[in-house]
Amino acid sequence: MKWSEFFTSSVGKKLVMALSGLFLISFLVVHVGINACIYADIFDDSDNGEIFNKAAHFMGAYYVIRIIEVGLFVGFFIHIIQGYVLEVKNRAKRNIGYKVPMGSKGSRWYSKSMGLLGTLILLFLVIHISHFWVPSRVTHTLEPVNYGTPTEYHNLYARMYHTFQQGWVVIVYVLGCISLAWHLLHGFQAAFRTLGVSNTKYIALARGAGAAFSIIVPLLFALMPISMYFNWVDLN
């Protein structure tokens, strides 16, 4: 069997979704880890994002990481394109629909709505990238800051703080995180099953870990705009 056949069969396509999905999940771990540095401000009011800005600087300073970043975009691209291709093709497998639809009988709504949830996340992603990634990496419009060393850092923290002072942005971010949570709740465990985890013990593990992951990570993300909006994490 050729690689091209392997990855383009119905099972192979799902495999691509699962692998790219898990790759994006691993990115979320890094992303949430670095962003969580903003919470340092809660414990030390003078931090003002110093730890966070340094960590963010690190992520932009090395070629290896920049290359990985390209990989990340490729991962997003594959996951999104493949997701839409599958959605369209799968829908076409039933040319005449039912008068009385099945609805969610026997399955969970979010399992059936991965395309919709994915689209919401994609919309959110566009807003999100234009808020932070574009000024940081493309237009370089972030104000500089240094912490007593010659190295100059982008003050991404300040940008975050200012951005999250607008109520509608906070709402959009929270909604994005909720979409992500549902998307992960299905995607995390399904990815493992697509990769062939068939032992009930391990399926249970994947489900448990998936549920924990899909609650904790989006919650940490969602708390960022909220805590800045309410000045639990602030700039002074």
Binding site: S10, K93, L195
Partner: protein, 255 residues
């Protein structure tokens, strides 16, 4: 159990043949006993239609005891009707009450074209089996049945997968019209047994290829299939199929 009778309104898909566009028609049936099976209620309706000189409704059915897999009706938004682990032929009218409206549709999937009314063509399933759903052993070649002991748990799991009756409810329920539950049941049945070992890799690759050719969708683990399966075939089999495919696709070495 108290018995009662009921009057019902039925909205049934009528389609003269595969070329016809098809439409819903509404029928009233009266004095239906709660002890009837759903198909017996259809028998009553058909006799009524014949008496009126109309064409009776065509539907597939044979054993009427839930094992042949022939009956196939999508009733009020669910393949095989409201009961769990059940086929249409075993659904009884106790499930309904006087005055109910019941909408009956055929299995809907591109790979299952309608032949007439509620009858669909499921020969795609046969072709998937032809692609590799067997163990190649000619008659007379077998060793003694007890020559190869099989772990009881594996034998039981193989049996549970082999219980599939090939009715196609999984396809009818799946939002992607995927035949993965059907396919995975057969792949699991044979992969779990030592007798299936020699053809393990080619089997899964060929069967998946055939399934794709027949025009079924892919699996997104919504688990609707398991929920409507009359034999309770588990979606775990789909995970096993994925594993079989992965291992076979990565390690198989030919061409």
């Amino acid at each position: 159990m108290e018995h009662y009778t009921m009057n019902l309104t039925l909205k049934v898909w009528r389609q003269k043949n595969s070329q016809d566009k098809g439409r819903f028609e509404t029928y009233e049936v009266k004095n239906i006993s709660s002890e009837m099976s759903f198909l017996e209620m259809f028998d009553v309706l058909n006799e009524q239609l014949i008496a009126e000189g109309k064409d009776p409704i065509a539907f597939d059915h044979d054993c009427r005891e839930g094992i042949c897999g022939m009956c196939s009706m999508y009733i009020n938004g669910r393949p095989h009707g409201p009961w769990q682990h059940n086929t249409v032929c075993q659904l009884h009218m106790r499930a309904y009450k006087d005055g109910d409206t019941i909408v009956v549709e055929p299995w809907r999937a591109k790979a299952f074209p309608v032949i007439k009314d509620l009858v669909v063509d499921r020969s795609a399933f046969d072709r998937i089996i032809q692609a590799g759903g067997y163990i190649s052993v000619n008659t007379g070649n077998a060793v003694d049945a007890n020559a190869i002991p099989i772990e009881k748990e594996k034998a039981d799991a193989a049996f549970a997968a082999a219980a599939c009756i090939g009715c196609g409810a999984c396809v009818a329920a799946c939002k992607n019209s995927s035949a993965m539950l059907f396919l995975s049941a057969k792949v699991s049945h044979l992969a779990l047994l030592p007798q299936g070992e020699p053809e393990r890799k080619t089997r899964v690759l060929n069967m998946v290829a055939q399934m794709d050719k027949e025009g079924f969708g892919s699996c997104t683990f919504t688990e609707a299939c398991e929920a409507v399966c009359p034999k309770g075939i588990s979606v775990t089999n789909i995970s096993r199929l994925n594993k079989e495919y992965l291992v076979a696709g990565l390690t198989e070495d030919k061409r």
